[in-house]
């Protein structure tokens, strides 16, 4: 399984580089840096430098598994719209839709949540529960999100930054949105929203967290890989979409067998190396040494 993080908070070259290196170290396969619209053009200029720096990292300095994660993370850049009304959102989308492969909009306000769910030109509604006591979603928004293929984003950072009653409130919102997702089947993506080094967590830790609050293996797989990949693939083809359901294709691409039109995106089929048993790759062969007469140590390091 691959892990896509679609929401890293981009700032400037040095901070982005430190953030990307750290995320790459802990096993993320695809990293999407999000910027404010006014910073996006500046960020695009140093994208190639970031990729060069990332590809020059020594593989042995990372915690990546050589068998499964044998390549460094891919990198892309997107736009995150904050604190805008519906008019401003429309203007930003008109300006940046063709330049960026990923546009998300911060939710929280009910009008914005509704406006974003109804707009098929936006990819993601980010954190609809932001600064709210409820989840910010209902059955109407869920149906609209499904209809317009707008993904809803849940951020792990909200768990890190909130404590006690507030953290419980966020987890409750996650569970409510998950309930809507199970009924209405809108795309649900899981991200970290990391801004500094201390926000980055390993992929397995975050997957275990979402599992602990009630997500199934399939939902975690879809949230980290299937839906993000679908968004990326869809946006690569977006220029050729004339209207919904109609795509312009070159004569070279057209075949009678439709072989070339099939996507390589795999649906969840109980992938190996993902269940609890997948810990085997971390647990060493002598994990059961205690059953066959291995050595013991007490708290003081003395052998028993």
């Amino acid at each position: 399984m691959k892990f896509y993080d679609m929401n890293l908070r981009g700032q400037d070259f040095d901070k982005d580089l430190a953030l990307v290196l750290e995320a790459n170290k802990f096993g993320w396969d695809y990293l999407n840096l999000n910027y404010f619209p006014e910073n996006f053009d500046k960020a695009i200029q140093y994208k190639d430098d970031l990729i060069d720096e990332l590809s020059s990292v020594d593989f042995n300095q990372t915690y990546r598994n050589i068998k499964t994660n044998f390549e460094h993370a891919e990198l892309s850049m997107g736009i995150n719209i904050l604190n805008a009304n519906s008019n401003e959102i429309r203007k930003i989308i008109n300006k940046y839709r063709n330049k960026s492969n990923y546009i998300s909009c911060l939710g929280g306000d009910l009008k914005i949540n509704r406006r974003v769910c109804e707009n098929h030109r936006i990819d993601v509604l980010s954190r609809p529960y932001y600064k709210r006591r409820d989840s910010g979603m209902n059955h109407v928004l869920a149906k609209e999100a499904k209809k317009n293929n707008v993904a809803i984003e849940l951020c792990f950072k909200d768990i890190l930054n909130n404590h006690l009653r507030y953290r419980a409130n966020v987890i409750s919102s996650f569970k409510e949105i998950l309930m809507f997702h199970r009924k209405f089947q809108f795309p649900l993506i899981l991200t970290t929203d990391s801004k500094i080094l201390y926000d980055v967590r390993s992929t397995r830790d975050i997957a275990c967290f979402f599992k602990s609050i009630g997500f199934s293996d399939k939902e975690i797989y879809n949230g980290f890989y299937y839906y993000p990949k679908q968004i990326i693939d869809f946006n690569k083809e977006r220029k050729n979409m004339i209207i919904r359901g109609v795509k312009l294709i070159d004569s070279d691409d057209f075949t009678d067998t439709y072989d070339k039109l099939e996507s390589d995106l795999e649906e969840f089929e109980g992938i190996e190396g993902f269940d609890d048993d997948s810990q085997d790759e971390f647990i060493l062969d002598d994990a059961d040494a205690d059953d066959i007469g291995g050595k013991y140590e007490n708290d003081l390091g003395e052998e028993l």
């Binding site: 980055v200 602990s212 059961d288 205690d290 028993l304």
Partner: protein, 125 residues
Amino acid sequence: MKLKVLPPTLRKKHHYLILDIKSEVEISKEEMLQYTGDACIRYWGENHSSNFDLWVMRHYLIDKTIQNNEAIFNYKTVLRCGRSYCNDVRVALSTLRRYNKNKVAINTIGISGTIKSGVSKFIEE
């Protein structure tokens, strides 16, 4: 008088988590135990945390770097936990971000059945 050591079948079964820790300030082995215990009790509550059987076995300072005029201490630690509660412990540790107003990040980089093999595979390499 010391208690007699339990026979192997009656002893608790353990696994060892290998942790990668980044912190703004220096962390001693005793403080590390507080960090982990506090994170587990805060996330899972007192009842469930009682199963974890946490203890810090090894604690190494790997390096100290400076980024943006801020020191970052990098440690690697071997943490003992109950055999069927590894995932619960790693979840609790990953939700810890601040302790005593200092930023800290704890990631689990591996699980091992013995201390020796965990150290040789994840720390000494």
